[in-house]
């Protein structure tokens, strides 16, 4: 008979490490979030949920919360839509494929902050590359002030978010595609299935677990992503492009409300936990069926 405790014993070291690395900060956060905290992190009185109710009463927080949903859904969804065809194309054999793969991966190699800074320059109203390109092509007869209002700034930020998420997503899909045996396609072709049918009946269903993993990982990553929005607009003008992380940063380090900032970060953690749990359960159920 197997020793039932053995698996637990074997995973114990990593569990302890995870506990130290993950639970300790979370316990710390809970402490800060439930206390009146000085600007430099000294805990004063226990104040229960006061920090949380202050958040709910703050319209900027609610707006940032909703905007984070839009941001995450748009970036993750957009990256998915772009990455599947890109991965399928990169998986076919064509001349210069390795060069194309390198080009697609390049944005990944550049630090996110650098990418955002370059885009901030490119979107400059007076001397930005994008405006001069648009004017040169005759697509615009006036400079567009991209970052001056959320109506243009936020869609641009989403686009950049998609751009930098595509390499990672494509890599996952390429791995998935290479695990699909060629025989399936040969057999399908013999039976007379066209490329569209092959994609719908073979590629996509077999890629599904990889799509699920990409959605979960990207959601966690994009939800917490700070540099693009911070570098380009700092969540402005007038907090109109704030997402939860930038709101948190301002609360903690501009205004010095560490208690409320910790509360935001706990809310973020809770949202991600719930999302991941629900999503993984749904995805698993789909797989078993």
């Amino acid at each position: 008979m197997h020793n039932r405790a053995l698996p637990y014993l074997l995973t114990l070291p990593s569990l302890i490490l995870a506990a130290v690395v993950i639970f300790w900060p979370v316990v710390d956060l809970i402490q800060i979030a439930t206390h009146d905290v000085s600007r430099f992190g000294q805990l004063r009185d226990f104040n229960g949920v006061a920090n949380f109710s202050a958040l709910v009463a703050d319209p900027d927080f609610i707006k940032a919360l909703l905007r984070t949903g839009v941001w995450t859904a748009a970036v993750v969804g957009g990256a998915l839509l772009v990455s599947i065809p890109v991965a399928v194309i990169l998986n076919t054999d064509f001349y210069g494929r390795s060069v194309a793969r390198v080009i697609v991966m390049l944005p990944w190699a550049v630090s996110l902050t650098m990418t955002a800074i370059v885009w901030r320059w490119a979107l400059n109203g007076e001397s930005g590359m994008l405006n001069s390109a648009l004017r040169g092509l005759g697509l615009a007869d006036q400079n567009i002030q991209w970052l001056a209002s959320a109506a243009t700034a936020f869609p641009m930020q989403i686009m950049i978010g998609i751009l930098v998420t595509v390499p990672f997503t494509t890599t996952i899909f390429l791995g998935g595609l290479s695990s699909i045996p060629d025989d399936l396609y040969e057999a399908a072709a013999l039976e007379g299935a066209g490329p569209v049918q092959q994609f719908k009946r073979i590629t996509f269903p077999l890629l599904k677990p990889f799509v699920n993993i990409a959605i979960v990982l990207n959601t966690i990553y994009v939800f917490n992503s700070f540099p693009i929005i911070w570098v380009m607009t700092q969540g402005g003008p007038a907090n109109s492009t704030d997402i939860l992380v930038t709101h948190l940063y301002k609360l903690a380090f501009r205004v010095g409300k560490l208690g409320e900032a910790s509360a935001v970060s706990l809310v973020m953690l809770a949202i991600l936990l719930v999302f991941t749990a629900i999503y993984i359960r749904l995805a698993m159920r789909g797989e078993r069926a």
């Binding site: 070291p13 990593s14 130290v20 109203g125 002030q145 970052l147 001056a148 501009r254």
Partner: protein, 411 residues
């Protein structure tokens, strides 16, 4: 796998221990703000010269970009790993004093040492009669104008009032092309300050005499309407809410902007990046009653209460505030002199640009010393961005902001 994780865990643990044990005897750690690419090399030089003159004291400068300085200090102090000395924005000092992390320096300061400073710049670092910091950098704001643009537009003298400024801006706009009259900052740090210039000239103050917010006063509303009218009539660069201070300065260096208000360091930048630009520096425009105000800023160097090497740290401060070292720093960064002896040097006396700044010092306002000031500044910036974007009536937006600010002031 598990073993390597253990190892890295141990290593992480050891490095935490190492951090805690960092305060060796005779070691002075200093956090300094990176004002420009010259800051790092300057403090390296200081380190060499000071260590040569004081064997046994080991100085370590940590150069931190301005944008993250407050964040670094907050986390360092929270974790108890802060340096012995640090440069801070003087407007943050009240938090440091109230939280009891700053050491009063009075026991070290001799009358002779105190006499080295210009009072205007030392006084913001004094609270409740105690000196908590020494002004390491000082700055004020004045109006830069592009001589060539004004000449082309037929404006003989730099505008002295906001009415004249508006008039000059309209003439520059009439030149056509990508020329903008008044460079208006609408993004990031000091967006609120850019509005105060107009507000002060209307006779309003950040805080009313009774200590409540002055944002809902008649002058403040008038100033917001003035800026809004400049935007609406196309007398500023388009899309002001996408222009941080550096962006407006870049426009000025490119010769596209007629007038803008900023700090003395722009002169240094123009000398290096746009040496052919013909510009002048003048007073900030006055309002209808002749009132005007500029923004005075000092950064202070403070000693932390938990420093274990206070005497050594003080030696370093004494060294830093010698005339020669001060002059080298101030001139490299483009600040104003804070030492009396330094101010008498030819470099400052014969410098027309700097003279315009020092002439404005009697009208200088420093950021009010109140807790929660950063939050009030943020509220003001947000309100102004809404005004600039046209997201509401200036009067209503300012009254709303004043109410929010009052809520913080009452705490």
């Amino acid at each position: 796998m598990a073993i390597s994780k253990w190892k890295s865990g141990l290593l992480a643990g050891l490095s935490v221990l190492a951090l805690a044990a960092q305060a060796n005897a005779g070691e002075v750690r200093v956090t300094v703000a990176e004002y420009s690419s010259k800051t790092g090399p300057y403090f390296q030089e200081v380190e060499k010269a000071f260590e040569a003159a004081n064997p046994g004291i080991d100085v370590k400068f940590e150069v931190v970009p301005w944008d993250v300085l407050l964040q670094k200090l907050t986390t360092d102090i929270t974790a108890g790993t802060n340096a012995d000395l640090s440069i801070i924005g003087t407007r943050w000092l009240i938090d440091f004093v109230q939280q009891d992390v700053a050491e009063p320096l009075d026991s070290y300061i001799t009358p002779d040492f105190k006499g080295r400073f210009i009072d205007t710049f030392l006084s913001p670092s004094i609270m409740d009669g105690k000196t908590y910091g020494l002004p390491i950098a000082a700055s004020a704001r004045a109006m830069y104008y592009n001589k060539e643009l004004l000449e082309k537009a037929g404006v003989a003298n730099p505008p002295a009032t906001w009415a004249e400024l508006k008039d000059a801006a309209a003439k520059i706009k009439a030149l056509g092309g990508e020329n903008y009259g008044y460079g208006l900052q609408g993004k990031e740090i000091e967006t609120d300050v850019y509005y105060y210039y107009a507000m002060w000239s209307q006779g309003s103050e950040i805080l009313d005499k009774d200590g409540s917010s002055g944002l809902d006063s008649a002058g403040a509303i008038e100033a917001a309407k003035l800026y809004k009218s400049l935007i609406d009539e196309g007398l500023t660069q388009p899309g002001v809410t996408s222009y941080a201070r550096e962006d407006v300065q870049n426009l000025f260096k490119q010769g596209k902007v007629g007038m803008m208000i900023t700090a003395p360091f722009l002169s240094n930048q123009i000398k290096e990046e746009a040496p052919n630009l013909k510009y002048g520096v003048a007073a900030i425009p006055a309002g209808p009653t002749g009132a005007r105000g500029t923004y005075g800023v000092t950064d202070s160097i403070v000693m932390f209460k938990n420093s274990k090497n206070k005497d050594e740290a003080w030696k370093l401060l004494d060294f830093l505030f010698q005339t020669d070292w001060r002059a080298k720093f101030t001139q490299g960064e483009g600040f104003l002199p804070v030492n009396k002896e330094e101010a008498k040097m030819d470099y400052y006396v014969n410098n027309a640009d700097l003279a315009a700044f020092t002439a404005l010092l009697p009208d200088a306002r420093f950021a009010p010393v109140i807790p929660g000031w950063e939050e009030i500044a943020q509220i003001t910036s947000d309100a102004m961005q809404k005004v600039y974007l046209g997201e509401g009536d200036p009067e209503a937006l300012l009254k709303e902001a004043a109410a929010k600010a009052d809520g913080i002031l009452k705490k």
